[in-house]
């Protein structure tokens, strides 16, 4: 089975364009825990526990849009920066797409098959299936070795989608509903 290489998990067009060195370990001076080894270990865990099983289920389907982001890269995200302590800065989160399938299929597979994860987010399903050069729906997966709370979320600007997901087990905040149990394309 194909695997991602370490260098692919730090790849960032934005970092290159802005001259940011997105090399794990660059933030160790401001945060001693963020050693190269710590980040690499986190990426290994994230990929072995979550991404590799997903890739096995969807061979030749999975692409990465963003994995590791150093703090400078994370802060350069526009129009608003990523959250200061983003799990991406620790190598604990990745954004993925399928090149031919709806993101809901990836999300549902993760929900039904992954035994441990911190959070899976069905990201803006209204953006649709991947097409080159087009905004695309994706899924976000994060893994933390010691705190995998299995939070299941959807992010969307579709108000009706959120309304349909209201239940005693869900929590709505802004564009996010948490606690869902199905990525249902019929809601789009």
């Amino acid at each position: 089975m194909a695997q991602f290489l370490y260098k692919q998990l730090i790849a960032s067009k934005l970092a290159k364009n802005q001259g940011i060195s997105n090399i794990p370990g660059v933030d160790v001076d401001s945060d001693p825990i963020l050693t190269e080894q710590y980040i690499k270990n986190n990426l290994q865990l994230l990929f072995s526990k979550c991404v590799s099983p997903l890739m096995a289920a969807f061979p030749e389907e999975i692409g990465i849009t963003s994995a590791y982001r150093c703090k400078a890269l994370n802060a350069s995200i526009k129009p608003i920066p990523g959250v200061k302590n983003s799990l991406h800065t620790k190598g604990q989160a990745v954004d993925l797409i399928s090149i031919s399938r709806p993101s809901s299929e990836l999300w549902n597979w993760c929900y039904n098959n992954l035994s441990d994860y911190y959070q899976i987010i069905w990201e803006y399903p209204e953006l649709g299936v991947f097409k080159p050069g087009k905004k695309t729906s994706w899924i976000h997966i994060s893994y933390k070795e010691d705190k995998n709370i299995k939070l299941n979320s959807v992010a969307s600007k579709l108000e009706n989608l959120h309304k349909e997901l209201i239940s005693e087990n869900t929590y709505r905040k802004g564009n996010y509903t948490h606690g869902i149990n199905l990525a249902d394309e019929n809601l789009i």
Binding site: L5, Y6, P79, K147
Partner: protein
């Protein structure tokens, strides 16, 4: 012009154009009265009773039937032409010092009751507010009130829950809508506002901190509001801990336990920073890296030799 005060008994009041003595909007608030020692007209026939208008125009304190008021003579609007005067009344006399009503009838009907109005009903357990030095208070008949007060001395005066902090004289304004339920004590006992028991309140504090304040809920749905932005359950923090990292699009919650309130607020703050959608693809990483695409032009050029970046991950 007769200007001496006279005590009279209110028999009726004109409040709208359904009243037979209504003479236009200027007559609203006009009372029909009888002298204090005169009986209520048979069959409540008020057609011949004298009238008095409110003395104050910017404070409306309308009496109900059988309350006692002072009236006095003062110029009419045509005084310059004819020197005529008419009667004006002062607020009801606090015979019983009851916020709800101070009716003082001298005749009871066959049921042993007396008239308070067309629909006004006595609420017996409405209590007066306890005053403190310097207080100015307005008390409605229904348990609603406004207190323009201050931090007092809880060691000298009867303690209240807003005077344990701050400096003596720090202003406080308490608006209360509805009195807490009271089933004990005497009808004339004074009470304090009860933020936990009053129907609803607004406390405008300066340096005070209210003791024993229990919010009814922080969640709007508990008020029965038909909102779509909140759900019935609030999120949970795993192990009741704040996770070390907040993901950019993550609210650190899961729907199975309730976290401490302050943690929920922290989460909300975090997520509100990051609600701009589409940023990840639209503005940051316009890229899709596939496993077999080993020549991605987004891979850093300055990879240090000390790290094996060709290593497969996962």
């Amino acid at each position: 012009m007769k200007t001496n005060l006279e005590v009279v008994r209110v028999q009726d009041i004109i409040l709208d154009n359904n009243h037979p003595r209504y003479l236009g909007e200027n007559s609203i608030g006009t009372i029909l009265y009888t002298p204090l020692n005169t009986s209520t007209p048979i069959d409540n026939d008020f057609t011949q009773l004298p009238t008095a208008k409110p003395l104050f125009y910017n404070i409306s304190h309308y009496p109900i039937a059988n309350e006692i008021v002072y009236i006095l003579g003062a110029p009419t609007s045509e005084y310059n032409e004819n020197n005529n005067a008419e009667a004006y009344y002062l607020p009801p006399i606090s015979i019983n010092k009851s916020p709800n009503n101070n009716a003082y009838p001298n005749v009871l009907d066959e049921n042993g009751e007396f008239r308070l109005g067309e629909y006004f009903q006595e609420i017996e357990n409405i209590r007066p507010l306890r005053p403190y030095e310097g207080d100015i208070m307005l008390e409605g008949r229904f348990g609603n009130s406004v207190r323009l007060g201050a931090t007092t001395n809880n060691n000298i005066a009867i303690p209240n829950r807003w005077s344990n902090n701050g400096e003596l004289g720090d202003p406080i304004t308490i608006i209360r809508n509805g009195q807490t339920e009271i089933n004990e004590g005497e009808p004339f006992d004074h009470i304090l506002e009860d933020i936990n028991g009053d129907n609803s309140s607004i406390y405008l504090c300066s340096n005070q901190q209210l003791d024993n304040f229990t919010p009814s809920s922080t969640y709007q749905l508990s008020f029965g509001a038909n909102l779509t932005l909140e759900t019935k359950e609030e999120p949970i923090i795993n192990n009741n801990e704040m996770p070390e990292n907040i993901e950019e699009d993550t609210i650190m919650a899961s729907p199975n336990n309730l976290p401490p309130e302050e943690l929920q607020q922290s989460e909300i703050n975090e997520i509100e920073e990051t609600e701009n959608p589409y940023y990840d693809i639209a503005d940051t990483e316009d890229q899709v890296i596939l496993p077999d695409n080993r020549d991605s032009n987004s891979i850093p050029n300055d990879l240090p030799d000390s790290i094996d970046f060709e290593e497969p991950i996962g």
